[in-house]
Symmetry: D2
Subunit: 346 residues, 4 copies
């Protein structure tokens, strides 16, 4: 059994990760750590996981944990991981970081969007952007896997085939996304109170959300040169789910068939992607799963394609993809321990 | 007291209208009609309006009603009103139609988007598009007022100043909207069941929603020549509210100041519009009110403006605007009987 | 115009109160105070009330406020008011306290349930329990009105006629209540986060909720001797509303007619109570209103009556009843400025 | 592999059952039938189960299905199963009926509560009430298993140990329950529309809900003589979950220890029951699982026990318990294919 640890285990992403790992057939959780609940049992904080993980929460010590675990997952606010991971840690342990610190190759981009210094720039050359469907072969070989953001996973997967096949104008990309409230994490903020979110819908982070440079980095890579996207997140009164509605101007003569062919070519055999064509995804279709559902419509009137992706922000957008990355890195079956279907209504 | 009637009184828009009219100081409701509940008291269907309106629901008879009312509101599915309204009706009664039949000047556009023949094309020259802030002087004089759609009210109001002042590229307009479930009406459809909508978010009507030609008609008028918009509605698990997130490419040299000046010029003294600048609206801020809240951000990086409008779909997007139209037409104070503020959380 | 002040204006109850007072025809708000937002405009915290109240929030100073206001409303956590109100304050100003400090006649009961010393026991003889329908004549004369709790208002109103008319066994009273999340207030608590409340239902405060002694005090008074109730609150994933499902064993030979007669006798002409008989209330029927809706069923099989009351916890359960108390105390029409109907769905 | 069939596969309980069976290691689904969607693929109706079950839906034919399946699940409205099941069917096939037809031993009780004639009274002697924890040994041997109702499962499990150990007064039982909206099924009813349920809470079926006689039958059996319960269900705006708050007067001298001992004695080794003591269950703790969580508080003041149970109405309250019954009947491990934990927030 592979020994695993989770630092930041009592946040929403961390606890979903503990849940997935506790049910994973090849894995044993030997270490869970939490900033706020040291000394309590994990299942005291999450009673619904009693029996699944009853370990006592320890201090968040990357150094120590890396000695006890073969794979160590970090689910920390940005700025922490880059000050805790070292070359020594990476020499003995695989780090899968669910935070933002190792996602951007260019530390100056990181520093400009996150307004903080990067604590270990020298490790960035070793880090792999852990969007499994796009970087599988690199993930297989790296000890520092930067698990992507939730909006970014959904948006990049939705747009990648269109850019890879040169079907759309790269200057026209608009990504209008919406997320459930668990994306804001389990912290005591007025803005996350039930009565502040319920029965309302709003945009936030307009023009300056930190997932923007991640999306641009990956889509630029696919496109072959630098591009920019307009990314606007919204908040939906539901627990889980992200939907990205992506707009792009079609290049001349591109047809609906070309669009479909691109998706089938890139994702036709991907186990965690469900192509829905024109029937369009809804977030409930992927709730609780590691599946990304993608649909699309061509507007012959306006010469645009509207491509829509849906994920569970805590699973394919965080903990599930982290497990998928572990599976790839450790040569397990890629979907081992990952739910792909859900029974609605859930 | 002005005698008013409501046909389609037990639908969501109709019942909100009855509620507003019953509290309006210059108005008496003398006629309420319903397709499904003839013979029952209105307050048997809506117990929360007991005491406000206890009239018995009658058959839906436009002819008859027009003899008993000075203002007659129609809240019917599309295709019905145009077969019930006649010149004789208009000669004796002001019709405010909450449906789609008289909104589009060009009956061929209507017939192509609604897939049905228009029943009274000859009356279209008399109809006024009842978006109060844009057509006030025409509304004052017309006996056939076509109350706009919910998405259209929100989207047109949000974009109008930008087009009127020639600040944005008219080929670049993308309107990404989201609505609460009451927009789907009070009809027995699987898709509107609690468990089918709750805890999910989806796009629908992508590329072909019927509010598209309405938005295009009005924005083209403002722009001075025909333009097209990309309009995508989404469904949010909440009762009420519409948010339109509108994207447009800025013309060269347009600044944040220019944008603000345009909104202030057009809406600075509008009683039903609240300009929020960069603090951005949320649907809860206008829940239960006839207010349209509008905010905006300029993205210096991408040279776009993102303008965001919010309304209550059943009030400013339907029943409230209908009352506002009546107020204008009947020379009442424009906001008489209309709530403009709300106490959150509601 | 009556000069009014609100201390604790930015909490949920306080802000609803500001909203109601700002629309009240006989009142001017001259003072608003907040613990957390001194120096900000009220409408910066509640943008949906822009134009309704744009006053700058001041420090919470009862002494100072009592000099500037004829009526001063306190919406503070328990334990604060009793240390701020003095005889001098009461000599020049009417205090309507939305908190718990002056509700219980017996300070030892207060101290045992609230685990804190009472700061001004000497004032308790002057305080009136402001449940309007039960204590109207005392309210007319008091300068210290203790506005009842939300659960208590709903539960006492629902059970009072049954006890007053001796129809039920006073040892058998079970009150099973449920509230929307706004009852927990606008404070940064993990338990009030959207994702902790949404899609769940739970009991809390079982056997020891602090509204128990309030209910017992008032029902004992009506009954004529001390009684106990079993009170169990639950949390419902909605913003507003309380429903109390009350169980009582019928005394021998009591019929459905007797029950109805009791309700009609006590509440038949109450403007803020809506008797629904066997059609039963739902919380949405009273959302946003100062109405208490009450229905009941007699179970011939089990010889019990199940009486069910519904209120809006922030209005009849807090701010609305406070205004109703002010109206009574100041000889205004009792429902002035108070919404009694609502248009569903809201 | 055991061949299974599901009749009524596209309702909520039926589809959850299909989902559980499709992931069950010992089972193959060979037949799915639906009243409304004959000829469509199951996954066309439930896109989130694409890949899990893509069978074509057939006509609902019990006779035919019983020839092709070893276990046949019926998820039909009451009154249908009793007209379709015959002795021949039972001779060749195990029937697990999720409906009400075979739950009540006494057909006259059935006919009086359900207002319809029972179609196969002669089979009632063969049927077993499939509440697994109470009737395990009978279930092992029966070919006609009547899967209990949702409210009944939760309420009976919560109260059974208290009655079995004679700790409470059997004349004092009050069960106040609340359910998510999926309990109302997937049918086109105004009352189940999103906007009719959302942001509200109500009681329904007061004094006459059909789960009452089921609860009474089973608790009477445990108690040793006939007893009655007061059962009141409520509707909560959430998809899934039932909470039963059960009140009972303690017999003299019964202590908190006695209560705990009773629960431990009866359920201490039950794999699908989680005892929570005084920390009390919430419905989210069991969402998506086959677990029944039970907690309790003794009120020393009032001499009552308040025992609270929580289940997922579609799993332990329907489809999951059906699978548990199959596991017991077929000598599989009892929890095979059944989720027992969940990762909140879900």
């Amino acid at each position: 059994m592979l020994q695993c640890g989770v630092i930041g285990a009592t946040g929403y992403a961390g606890s979903v990760l503990v849940s997935l790992l506790s049910a994973h057939p090849n894995v044993e959780i030997s270490y869970v750590a939490s900033h706020s609940y040291v000394g309590k049992r994990f299942s005291d904080i999450y009673p619904s996981l009693k029996g699944a993980c009853d370990l006592v929460l320890e201090e968040e010590q990357v150094e120590e944990a890396s000695k006890r675990c073969s794979v160590l997952f970090l689910a920390l606010p940005h700025g922490l991981a880059s000050n805790k991971v070292t070359q020594e840690v990476l020499n003995r342990c695989i780090i899968i970081d669910l935070g933002a610190d190792y996602r951007l190759c260019d530390s100056s981009v990181y520093e400009s969007w996150y307004k903080t210094e990067h604590g270990s720039k020298e490790l960035l050359t070793q880090s792999v952007y852990g969007l499994c469907e796009l970087h599988r072969s690199e993930i297989e070989q790296s000890n520092l896997i930067a698990n992507p953001g939730c909006y970014t996973t959904c948006s990049i997967l939705t747009l990648a085939p269109l850019l890879a096949e040169k079907l759309v104008d790269p200057t026209s990309l608009i990504i209008d996304s919406a997320s459930g409230v668990s994306g804001a994490g389990r912290s005591e903020k007025i803005d996350s109170l039930f009565c502040e979110c319920n029965e309302s819908y709003k945009a936030y982070g307009v023009t300056n959300h930190r997932h923007t440079p991640e999306i641009e980095q990956e889509l630029s890579l696919i496109h072959g040169s630098a591009l920019m996207v307009q990314f606007t997140p919204h908040l939906v009164p539901m627990n889980r789910g992200i939907l990205s509605t992506c707009y792009a101007n079609l290049k001349a003569a591109v047809t609906e068939k070309d669009i479909e062919a691109a998706y089938v070519k890139h994702y036709g055999s991907e186990p965690c992607i469900r192509l829905m064509g024109s029937s369009l995804p809804e977030t409930r279709f992927v709730r609780g799963t590691n599946t990304c559902a993608i649909g699309w419509k061509v507007d012959a009137r306006t010469k645009r394609v509207i491509a829509i992706g849906a994920i569970d922000n805590l699973i394919k957008g965080a903990a599930g993809q982290a497990v998928q990355n572990m599976n790839i890195r450790c040569n397990f079956e890629e979907t081992l321990g990952l739910p792909l279907n859900v029974s609605n209504p859930l």
